[in-house]
C-alpha cells in the first residue's frame, strides 16, 4: 500500500485481521515477507521497524501496563532513547491529541473504558510513528468518543501518517479509510473504499454488514432505476445529492 494512505481491514471474526496486524511490526513472522517503508522486516531490523510502526491493540488493558498514564505514554519514546524537552513535548502532544491531558497522573484502573481506549492510542502516538496500525480502535466506544477517534485518525492521515485499521464498523469506514482490504484467511478484495463497499454479494458472502447508505441506495436503484447516479453514495453529502436528484 502507498504511504500516507488509510486502509481499513474488513473481515469476519477469525479472518486473520489481528494476525495480519501482528506481522506488521514483526511480533509474528510467517513464511512470507513483510516490507515496511521499503525494508524487509527481519530479526536484525526489528527495533527499527518498531520505532516506525505503532501498534494499538484491541484491549486497552493489554496496552496500559505502567502505573500511571503519563509514564505509560512516555514508555515508548523512552525506549526510543528520547529524553528531556523532546520527551515532554511528545508525551504532552499525544495526551492532548486524545484529550486526556487532565488525567495524566491517573492509574489505568481508575479510567473508564472509553478513556482507556484513547489512552492506549496516546501511548503509541507519543512515539510519532510513520505507520499507525490499529486493531478495532472504535469498538465499544460511545458515539462521541467514536467520532473523536475517527477525526483523529483522519487528521493523522492528512498529516502524512500511513494508517491501517482493522474494524467491523462498516458505517464509519468511509470516514476514515481511503481503501479497503477484504480478508477471510486470504485477501478477498482490495481497492478504493467506494468500490469495495459497493460489492454487495462479496460483503454478504463474508457475513459482513453492508453500510446503511449503500444498502439504502441499492434498494432505491431497484425501485427507481439507476439513471440518477452512476456511483453509489457512501457519504452523507453524496447521499443528499443523490436524493435531491431522485426527488427532482
Amino acid at each position: 500500500m502507498e504511504r500516507g494512505r488509510s486502509v481499513a481491514l474488513l473481515g469476519p471474526n477469525g479472518a486473520g485481521k489481528s494476525t495480519l496486524l501482528l506481522h506488521m511490526n514483526g511480533i509474528l513472522r510467517g513464511g512470507g515477507t513483510v516490507k515496511i517503508l521499503g525494508r524487509k522486516v527481519e530479526e536484525d531490523n526489528l527495533p527499527w521497524v518498531r520505532s516506525r510502526v505503532g501498534m494499538v491493540f484491541q484491549d486497552p488493558d493489554d496496552q496500559l501496563f505502567m502505573p500511571n498514564l503519563r509514564e505509560d505514554v512516555a514508555f515508548g519514546p523512552l525506549n526510543l532513547g528520547r529524553s528531556g524537552p523532546e520527551l515532554e513535548r511528545d508525551v504532552s502532544w499525544a495526551l492532548e491529541a486524545v484529550g486526556l491531558e487532565d488525567l495524566e497522573g491517573k492509574s489505568p484502573h481508575h479510567l473508564s473504558f472509553g478513556q482507556k481506549k484513547r489512552a492506549a492510542l496516546a501511548t503509541v502516538l507519543s512515539m510519532r510513528p510513520e505507520v499507525l496500525v490499529m486493531d478495532e480502535p472504535t469498538s465499544n466506544l460511545d458515539p462521541r468518543s467514536k467520532r473523536a477517534v475517527v477525526s483523529l485518525i483522519r487528521g493523522l492521515c492528512d498529516s502524512g501518517t500511513t494508517i491501517i485499521t482493522a474494524t467491523h464498523d462498516v458505517n464509519i469506514v468511509t470516514l476514515m479509510a481511503d481503501e479497503i482490504l477484504l480478508l477471510d484467511k486470504r485477501v478477498v478484495g482490495y481497492g478504493p473504499a467506494r468500490e469495495v463497499l459497493d460489492k454487495r454479494e462479496v460483503l454478504d458472502d463474508l457475513g459482513l454488514e453492508v453500510p446503511i447508505l449503500v444498502d439504502l441506495f441499492h434498494s432505491l436503484k431497484g425501485c427507481c432505476g439507476h439513471h440518477h447516479f452512476h456511483e453509489t453514495p457512501i457519504t452523507k453529502e453524496e447521499a443528499l445529492e443523490g436524493l435531491k436528484k431522485i426527488l427532482g
Partner: protein
C-alpha cells in the same frame, strides 16, 4: 478505598510522605527488624509505642489503618491464646481445671506486640508514596530489575484480576449459581479459578506483545529521580537510630543490667 488500593493516601502531606522514599524504606525496614528481634516484653512495648509514633507522624487515617491491621492480628491471636496452655515452665496459675503458664502468657504477649508493631510500621512504609514510586525507590536500593517489574505488574494487574473474578462471579450468579459447602460448588469454583488462570496467562502474552511493540527490551525506563536533602538524612538517622537504641536497651534488659 478498597483492600488492595494500598496507595490511596499517598497524597497526604506529612513528614513521612515528604521523606525521600529510598531513605524511608531503608530506615523503616531497619526499625521493623529491630522491633521483631527484641526479647524483653517492656522493650517490645517501647517498640510498639515507637511504631505508633511513626504512624501518627504519617497522618494516615487511623481508623482505616486499624481496620486493615485487624487481619494480620487475627492470625497472631491464636498464638497468644495457645501459648499459655502449651508453654509449660515453672510459673503457673491454676484457673478452674487448667494450669496456665505465665511464661507462655508473657511469650504470647511479646510475639503479639512485636507482630503488631511490625504490621503498623508497614503502613507508613508502603501507604505514604504512590506504589510505583515505592518500587522505583526499591530499585534505587538495588532491588533486582526483574523483581521490581514483577512488583509493578502484579500491582497493576491485581485490579484487573479482581475485576475478571467479579465478572465471572456475576456470570455464575446470573445463571442461578449459589455457593454451598458441597462438591459441586468446589468444582465450579475450581473451574472458574482455572478460567481466571488461563485468561491471565493469555493476557500476559498480549501485554508482552504490546510492550515489545513499543520497544521494550527487558528494562523499564523510568523518569523518576530521587534526591536526598538534609531533612531526609535527619529523619533517617532518627528512625534508624531509634532502631539501634531499641536493640541496645533490649540487650541491657535481657542481660539483667536494667529492670
Amino acid at each position: 478505598m478498597t483492600s488492595i488500593d494500598i496507595d490511596s493516601h499517598a497524597d497526604i502531606d506529612s513528614p513521612i510522605h515528604r521523606w525521600d522514599p529510598r531513605a524511608k524504606i531503608a530506615s523503616i525496614l531497619i526499625l521493623i527488624f529491630s522491633v521483631v528481634m527484641v526479647e524483653s516484653i517492656r522493650v517490645a512495648l517501647l517498640g510498639l509505642v515507637l511504631s505508633l509514633a511513626v504512624l501518627l507522624a504519617s497522618r494516615l487515617p487511623l481508623g482505616e489503618v486499624a481496620r486493615r491491621v485487624r487481619w494480620p492480628v487475627i492470625f497472631l491471636l491464636p498464638i497468644f491464646f495457645i501459648l499459655p496452655f502449651t508453654a509449660g515452665g515453672e510459673r503457673t496459675v491454676t484457673f478452674a481445671t487448667f494450669d496456665l503458664s505465665l511464661d507462655g502468657l508473657l511469650l504470647g504477649t511479646l510475639i503479639l506486640m512485636r507482630g503488631l508493631a511490625a504490621v503498623i510500621l508497614a503502613y507508613p512504609l508502603f501507604a505514604t508514596s504512590p506504589f510505583n514510586i515505592t518500587v522505583q525507590a526499591m530499585r534505587g536500593l538495588k532491588m533486582p530489575e526483574v523483581t521490581a517489574q514483577i512488583f509493578l505488574f502484579t500491582y497493576r494487574y491485581l485490579f484487573l484480576l479482581r475485576e475478571e473474578m467479579r465478572s465471572i462471579e456475576k456470570s455464575l450468579a446470573s445463571k442461578s449459581f449459589a455457593k454451598k459447602t458441597d462438591l459441586r460448588t468446589a468444582r465450579v469454583i475450581g473451574t472458574a479459578l482455572g478460567m481466571l488462570f488461563v485468561r491471565s496467562y493469555e493476557r500476559s502474552e498480549r501485554i508482552y506483545r504490546a510492550m515489545v511493540s513499543r520497544g521494550y527490551d527487558g528494562a523499564l525506563p523510568s523518569t523518576v529521580k530521587f534526591e536526598m536533602r538534609r531533612g531526609d538524612w535527619a529523619k533517617s538517622f532518627a528512625v534508624a537510630g531509634a532502631a539501634v537504641i531499641l536493640q541496645l536497651i533490649d540487650f541491657a534488659a535481657t542481660q539483667g543490667m536494667i529492670i
